[in-house]
Amino acid sequence: MLPKRSSCADRGGNTRTMRRLATLGLLAIVALVAGACQAVSLRSPATDQAILISDLYNLVFAVAAVVFFLVEGLIVWSVIRYRRKSTDRGLPAQTHGNLVLEIVWTAVPMVTVIAIFLASWNVLNVVDARDESVAQVKVEVVGYQWAWKFGYPDAGIEIYGTAEQNPQLVVPINKVVQVSVSSQDVNHGFYIPEFLFQRDAVPGRVNVFQFTPNKLGVFNGQCSAFCGLMHHAMRFSVKVVTQAEYDAWIAAGGPSANAAGVATLRITTTPVAVATPAIVRFSRITM
């Protein structure tokens, strides 16, 4: 991309050794990049939406890696190649600029970011899709200092967590789950790393999103928006089960019937241990 040096090939002796070294170096870089890519990917996605987000992240990462190695490579090359040497006489050529180059390195990034933007817009339209009619399970999430309430309005189940006893949301696999999230005191963030997703719980506001879990298992989540003293303890989990297990769980009235470690959670009809100045009434808000 930058002006080519005039006399590059005639330095060094054995070009074949050079080429072999270059190949080895290239292989090493490829191995390094492959290894690094393993380490720097997002969590393995556990919803249909998360797969798209993960793919988009990988695209952005690939472009970022190219830019990173290109520019850092140019910096390292300059530092090695253009050190001032004892043989340097006089000044180097006083280049003040190059219009063509400058247009190229403005236009190429411009096209690249527009392309990534379009790709991200496509993903966004899926991830943020909120079609009420396709929702198969509806849950209400309310954040409060420092725990979560999970409600299943259709089944009349409400689960209240505490900072010590983290609540668990149970949802069936491969079904569209619609979450409406709010807060009754300060801002919170409903964040599940393996869903590659978070949505803020903001007092006075109901945020709605949908997800379709596609992996069985328990996925940990925690509050991502700083919410005061015990912010770090505001954890929860999402358990994805088969439809049959889910039906049984609902029929049994929620967590008390489930033997898998969530029996400590109780079902109540009133909020526990929270001051509720601005509790959101979901019934009045239609999504």
Partner: protein, 541 residues
């Protein structure tokens, strides 16, 4: 105005009284620097407290309340009392010299701008001894910053201190603008101004447009907290999101306020130590202005997950702002290309800036595609991003400027060997600290948590980050020692130890109170280069 500006000529001397009452921009610049070092020590200790606590899961040293105060005050001090004033120090000292001016346009206002800083700093820090400092994060989102959820005196003190330091910034910005537009030496046209002065000019415009907005938001929060206002309280008809909009309308441009002058410093240093002019001077000026303008259209990318933002607009603007930054990166590399690079300490820090700020630019772009932001928002990825920008970028730029301008400020050279030890320790330390945070963020560790589950898989990475943090702390010791011994018996610097290009090197080191006895002819952006080598058609294509 001219007579006021010449007043410092009547004063000289180095007594304490002289320093306390000085209106000389050079002495004020040095005062800014001393104040920034003091607050750096405080902000750094706060950060080490945070890192010590996070080294392993469980609460070992702090309780949650103290932890929340520490990370809140670390960010507050580092942003408002360290990085911005450090850049203010360089701007104050260098800009009038680069313009060939005898002082700033309003020397007394300049002194006021400085003296507000330590007093405002004492106010925000006094919370620690008056029942608890601010603990709602430096972003102070209501309702968690409201009187109900943060009832201590800390938040009120924080608001008052921030309003004062904002006033200091605004006064400084007006002063810089008038100085740059009215006090340039004959021949110094706008497009012959050094790039550092250009970046300070754009920064001053950003401060003037953005900081009053923050001040308004702070006053609204103060009214909410103390007089029953309801700007940000949803229970009484306010909006919690409103604060985020106003706050980020200031605080995103603030990132450019904190990085543009550092870019300016780098753009002075790279040409000098490559022995070439800056590649694409005009493109660089336009890119700086472009960053300034676009900087006001991206604030809501901090709010993608709130559900209350027009997503596509802020997404694409965030993508676009990467472009002028990228242009600058290519200009810097092209400046070094085919040069004769000299690796003195200022140049090492400048190259450190390039390599680290690049990472801060790239990992920031991940927040522009909204769905990716849903995954990484408010995680340690963002902590890594902001530290690669403000530490790897701004702070390394400040260090480069310190080593570059120390000879001018004191007449003494800093020791090169200690400088290189400082650079290596700091460079290694910052990567040890902030590189692992990318992985922590990707695996889902939220920021601002005092504790984490031992089974989350975050133990080793946090330990590495803590070791890195203490390495950064240690790296400042050779710097302080270097300053101490160099002031006592450093090598004499002479007027122009680096064979530099701009007017500040055309006078003695340190310069007399009136700055210049005579000025060289100014016919390009490199008057000293022209004086040294003569203007030739070849040199000025």
């Amino acid at each position: 105005m001219a007579t006021t500006a010449l007043r410092p000529a009547a004063r000289s001397g180095t007594g304490i009284y002289e320093w306390l009452t000085t209106t000389d921009h050079k002495k004020i610049g040095i005062l800014y620097m001393i104040s920034s070092f003091v607050f750096l020590a405080i902000g750094g200790l706060l950060a080490l407290g945070v890192r010590a606590e996070l080294a392993q899961p469980g609460l070992q040293f702090l309780d949650e309340s103290t932890y929340n105060q520490l990370f809140t005050m670390h960010a507050t001090i580092m942003i408002f009392w360290v990085i911005i004033p450090f850049l203010g120090a360089i701007g104050n000292y260098v800009v009038p010299l680069q313009l060939g001016a005898p002082d700033m346009a309003f020397p007394r206002i300049n002194a006021l701008s400085f003296w507000l800083i330590p007093f405002a700093g004492i106010i925000v820090l006094s919370g620690f001894v008056l029942g608890g400092a601010a603990d709602a994060g430096w972003t102070a989102y209501p309702p968690v910053s409201s009187i109900k959820y943060s009832p201590g005196p800390g938040m009120n003190l924080w608001i008052m201190g921030l309003i004062l330091i904002g006033t200091s910034s605004i006064l400084g910005a007006v002063n810089f603008l008038v100085t740059i537009f009215r006090m340039r030496a004959p021949g110094m046209t706008l497009f012959r101004m050094p790039i550092l002065t250009w970046t300070v000019l754009v920064t001053a415009v950003l401060v003037l447009m953005a900081t009053p907005v923050l001040t308004s938001a702070l006053i609204m929060l103060f009214i909410d907290r103390n007089f029953g206002g309801s700007f940000f309280d949803p229970a009484t008809g306010g909006s919690a999101i409103l604060w985020q909009n106003i706050f980020w309308f200031y605080s995103h441009p603030a990132v450019y306020i904190m990085v543009l002058p550092a870019m300016g410093v780098i753009s002075e240093i790279l040409p000098v130590f490559s022995r070439k002019p800056l590649f694409g001077y005009k493109a660089f000026v336009f890119a700086t202005a472009g960053i300034g303008a676009l900087g006001f259209s991206v604030w809501a990318h901090h709010m993608f997950t709130t559900g209350g933002v027009f997503l596509p607009f802020f997404s694409i603007m965030t993508f676009f702002i990467a472009i002028p930054t990228g242009v600058k990166m290519f200009n810097w590399v092209a400046t070094m290309w085919r040069g004769q690079l000299i690796f003195s300490t200022p140049m090492l820090f400048a190259i450190g800036f390039l390599s680290m700020f690049l990472i801060g630019g790239i990992n920031g772009v991940f927040s522009a595609p909204v769905p990716v932001d849903y995954a990484i928002h408010a995680t340690y990825w963002i902590v890594a991003h902001i530290h690669y920008v403000l530490f790897g970028g701004s702070f390394l730029g400040i260090m480069a400027g310190l080593y570059f301008y120390f000879p001018k400020m004191t007449g003494k050279m800093l020791d090169e060997r200690l400088g290189k030890i400082h650079f290596v320790l700091m460079y290694v330390g910052l990567n040890l600290t902030f590189m692992p945070m990318h992985l922590l963020g990707l695996s889902g560790m939220p920021r601002r948590i005092a504790d984490y589950s031992p089974t989350a898989g975050w133990n080793d990475l946090n330990l590495i980050a803590t070791i890195g943090g203490f390495t950064i702390g240690a790296s400042l010791l050779p710097l302080l020692w270097n300053i101490y011994i160099s002031l006592r018996n450093g090598k004499a610097a002479g007027d122009d130890p680096w064979e530099a290009n701009t007017l500040e090197w055309a006078t003695s080191s340190p310069p007399p109170a009136w700055n210049f006895d005579r000025l060289p002819a100014i016919t390009s952006e490199r008057p000293l280069f022209d004086a040294r080598h003569g203007r030739s058609g070849k040199d000025h294509a």
